[in-house]
Amino acid sequence: MSHSTHDVAEHRFRQHHFATAEQQLDTSKIGMWLFLATEILMFGGLFVGFGLMQGVYPEAWVAGHHHLDRVLGAVNTVFLLCSSFTMVMAVHYASTDEKSKTVLNLGLTLGFAFAFLVVKYFEYSHKFHDGLLPGRFFNLAGIGGPPQQAMFFGFYFAMTGIHGFHVLIGIILITWIMIRANRGDFSSAYYTPVDLIGLYWHLVDLIWIYLFPLLYLVS
């Protein structure tokens, strides 16, 4: 139980209630995967509601999605895909003790994340301007078409809003591990936070990959 054992996998971040660094790593991974499962179930509820209502009001969904900008949506998809790639590279370089490359790739990931939010900001403000707001704030008179478009935009803002919130949390977390990576906290023996936040970031990316066709490519 002492901290003085010089096992290969030992490191100074092992907490007292774990017998080995390996046990700590396994435990952290179980925790993260469970948390990701809760995320999937939470978005799953939204997807089910969205799908059901699309089945009831297909015309409203088609009419509503014409007001979304496919190009911007596609650009954002590319941004997130690239960010997932740089995240993978960051995890890889963390595991091979290449500190500056880890920091660089985390920085690039952050850059893509910010780019995503900037595009989202322009999309949102465009929607606000056109009165494409959720529910009772929806300006049907200015747009025409089936009234249930209000519900479509309710879902649009709920889904992209909650996703955007996750991107924001991701930015905070990535900033945190970037500072720690720069400080030299991570090594091939210990880079669990990079690994786990990487997993989280991939999920955020994956959810967008479902959101994009569901919202922007209705047919």
């Binding site: 396994d26 435990t27 925790g31 509820g45 939204l46 509601g49 009831v56 959720p134 529910g135 519900m151």
Partner: protein, 548 residues
Amino acid sequence: MADIITTPHISGHADHHDVDYLHDGKGLKSWLTTVDHKRIGIMYLWSILFMFFLGGVFAMMIRLELLTPKQTIMSAETYNKVFTLHGAIMVFLFIIPSVPAALANFVLPLMLGAKDVAFPKLNLFSWYIYMAGALIAIAAMVTGGVDTGWTFYTPYSTTTDGSVALMTFAAFVLGFSSILTGVNFVATIHKLRAPGMGWFDMPLFCWGIYATALIQVLATPVLAITLLLLIMERTFGIGIFDPKLGGDPVLFQHFFWFYSHPAVYIMILPGMAIISEIIPTFSQKTIFGYRAIAFSSVAIALVSFIVWGHHMFTSGQSQLASAIFSFITFFVAVPSAIKTFNWIVTMYKGSVAFNAPMLYALSFLLLFGIGGLTGIFLGAVSVDIHLHDTYFVVAHFHYVMMGSTVIAFLGGLHYWWPKMFGRMYNESAAKVACALVFIGFNATFLPQFVLGSRGMPRRYYNYLPEFQFLHQASTVGSWILGLGFLIMAGYLFASLRKKMDAPANPWHSRTLEWQTASPPITHNFHEVPSVGGGPYDYYRPVGQGRNA
């Protein structure tokens, strides 16, 4: 279970590792910043007990109002708010965190022979989230209240006045606390069992908590998104649940019960888990059917996800769906009965001691029998159409939620009290309180079965004069129940003023939490326990750990 460890340390020299957890650090700050699972468990315990008191006061007000058919002490509007707050507080702020977050937080790592839960900081964080949720709930109460019932059914909940959005948000926040506790416990059970302790060497309490934690992790996120959509419905009118805008209020019911039916098992499984500890200990006998009980916990957890439609037989869902949900609901009785029969057989030819925890366990068997079987009545579609939304339903779920879960919680509280605080309570007073709670509970809720079967609808403020006798019997029962709790509070608080007098293992149990000092040292055990036997090996002599 194991042959271990504690040489009792009555030492004056204050080695950090020898100090019991209650004295390792003084002052409020040392508690508010602790990452010790035992201290967090205790903080949860006082928080939920306060909420239980609050919810209990609302319950007494409901019963007092129903003493007479017309107005007794409050207006109809106030009454609606009072029963909503009673339900919401008891479900979200008391029962759901009661056993997992308070008792299991304390004993689970001890039972596993671990030093702490998997994620100690997350554990503390989840307590802060709980407190934030509780404060938001209280804010909702004082800024207009809520009169929707704890189920927040649309479209009423999206159109009524009051602080529905705030109360819903409180439940949303509390859900995260529950999820984090669940994640923590699953990881703890997977990775932090003592060396040599296989899955089937764990005490059955851990199996029950494991099944519970799985439901917490898998069901709660769906409630989170449902409540979020409800908040959006109220603030933006997005129309998903509003028929005026093309939405579907029944969809809300589906979403809500997809969480809230499994949540019923979040509430009952930990209760069953406690009973699986108390009965072998006070029978001094190996539990009968260990694997059957362990697997039945997991079976209940799995089945719990596919029965939610039995809350909605009268909602207009398809008759085929109702028939299927009804059939699966009957299936829940199988693992429940497996447990019950195994507990009863465990006592057979055991040397049964009738201490307070055992009295609660025996009460549980009776009350859970009634609560469970009336659940079968309600699961039958034709019977449910008649009994839906009557006092029969109220009586049924109180027999399960209070008669079973709360009774088991009280059993667990009395069972582990010496371990948690190092002090014995007055046993005779505890027996009297248990008897009063048992009698008071039955007096309160048995009449409600009769009321319901005769057509008294739930949540009504007024009632027909012919129902008055049964309502009064129920109200008098609530006073007996209240008296029982008053006595309990008296002797439990009194015990805390005594010097520490509890032996390490007052009940001669074989599970690991009793093989260390009462109260335990901060790191739980002086050496990591190594396990070489089952948790209920009562046929073997006790290890040196017991100094009772």
